[in-house]
């Protein structure tokens, strides 16, 4: 009796990885999913902290994909290891701060380590030649296989027929004829295959699955590094860049202002780590001050906080300023007018 072969599939939560895994499951291979959490994944419920999104059912699409496929999913925290990928990408950044090629090499390398530790035979990804401008090109796909160390243990079922044979194909663990020859940016073959498999409710993230492909997020990250004078971050930084309005009046401080109740609730958890403030005389948002503000800076922050509260048109607004140790004082400020906030302050 032939040995049951086992593959680990990189599951992002998108359609391509779902289809790639399903293609191999259909060939009788035991497949389990793996999903790497870098801290920058759009996947998850980052937006659920915004109250307005609460009516929309949220789901983690990687978990949902695994459930559709009937496979286990291993979610791996790679936040710390990923820092070197982001800070020192050998192959550089894409349009924003997205190190897509280095990222894919890193993830396939981690998957290679995982299959060695767990006695699996090969790795599946949902990559398609020509699908992405940086990591899914004919010239970069071999780079991923080579530099990750996966080499011919890396099988891309959706475009395998356009690529050299891999070990699973040569050994007959999978039938190359039943793999696919997708290429380019068209989604039609994927949609047809999804229909064939009976998938009709799948995630189609418009901007990819990573915050680093987002200009606004990337701008905030660059601002963070610039203000600190060095490229470094921790998980709280990554989280806070996703939340609120970020305004930097001066290089030594910025103000993060909650845009709604859900964000305010999330920011409450950081009150012992940042000077924070909110309007005392009117309803208004919670704001955190990041950096080393002077007393005069705090008044600017208070004016900004008042600007986004219900007292924005009032002549004076009382703002409570809380130090990290909880001590409070109330200051009275005139809310900043919209046209008094220079555009370059808005990160």
């Amino acid at each position: 009796m032939s040995k049951q072969r086992k593959a680990v599939a990189l599951i992002s939560g998108g359609l391509d990885s779902l289809l790639a895994a399903k293609t191999i499951i259909e060939q009788g291979v035991h497949v389990e999913g793996i999903n790497f959490f870098t801290g920058f994944c759009v996947e998850g419920h980052t937006h659920a902290i915004r109250k307005k999104d609460k009516a929309t059912p949220k789901r983690n699409n990687a978990l949902w994909s695994a459930e559709q496929l009937g496979i286990k999913l291993h979610i791996v925290d790679v936040i710390d290891e990923y820092k070197d990928v982001l800070i020192n990408p050998k192959h550089g950044y894409g349009a924003n701060m997205n190190p897509c090629l280095d990222c894919k090499i890193f993830m396939v390398h981690k998957a290679k380590e995982w299959i060695e530790e767990n006695d699996f035979d090969f790795i599946i990804t949902g990559e398609v030649i020509g699908q992405r401008p940086m990591s899914q090109r004919k010239d970069t796909m071999p780079v991923i296989a080579n530099e990750s160390g996966a080499d011919d243990l890396l099988l891309r079922p959706l475009c395998a027929q356009n690529l050299p044979m891999t070990l699973p194909e040569r050994e007959g663990w999978v039938d190359r004829e039943k793999l696919h020859n997708f290429s380019g940016r068209t989604r039609k073959p994927q949609m047809a295959l999804a229909a064939q498999f009976g998938f009709n409710d799948f995630a189609q993230p418009a901007g990819g699955c990573c915050f680093l492909t987002d200009k606004s997020y990337s701008d905030k990250l660059v601002d963070l590094w610039t203000s600190r004078g060095r490229k470094e971050y921790d998980l709280d930084d990554v989280m806070l860049l996703k939340v609120g309005r970020h305004i930097r009046p001066k290089s030594n401080f910025k103000v993060i202002i909650a845009r709604e109740e859900g964000e305010a609730r999330f920011l409450q958890g950081y009150k012992k780590e940042f000077i924070n403030m909110n309007c005392a005389s009117h309803k208004g948002p919670l704001a955190m001050v990041d950096g080393e503000p002077s007393e005069a800076d705090l008044l600017v922050a208070a004016q900004l906080t008042a600007r986004y509260g219900q007292g924005r048109e009032a002549e004076f607004v009382d703002v409570t300023i809380r130090e990290k140790d909880g001590t409070e004082k109330v200051v009275t400020v005139t809310p900043m007018k919209a046209d008094e906030i220079p555009l370059q302050w808005m990160i």
Binding site: N35, F37, C41, E43, G44, H45, T46, A48, I49, K54, P57, K58, R59, N60, A62, L63, W64, A66, E67, G70, I71, K72, L73, H74, I75, V76, D77, M239, R265, F266, G269
Partner: protein, 74 residues
């Protein structure tokens, strides 16, 4: 059978799921884990994770501030 509590407050998904996954690895079948979170997304994600990995959700409790999931390790 042991009962343990995991504090996953302030973490956004999927971190509460990852912390749950890592904690469950150290527990035995039949043990009970209570996960306390602040991200409402856990109400979808932890039950989904339990379903695909063979664990049983015994109870979910939520108010506007905290979301608590009690599961039995499978």
């Amino acid at each position: 059978m042991s009962k343990e509590v995991l504090n996953a407050k302030r973490l956004l998904c999927p971190l509460p799921v990852i912390r749950t996954q890592d904690k469950v690895k150290t527990m035995a079948t039949g043990d009970i884990l209570q996960v306390v979170c602040t991200d409402p997304g856990v109400m979808q994600d932890i039950p989904a994770w339990c379903r695909i990995n063979g664990h049983k959700v015994i109870e979910t409790v939520s108010d506007d501030m905290e979301y608590i999931i009690v599961l039995e390790v499978g």
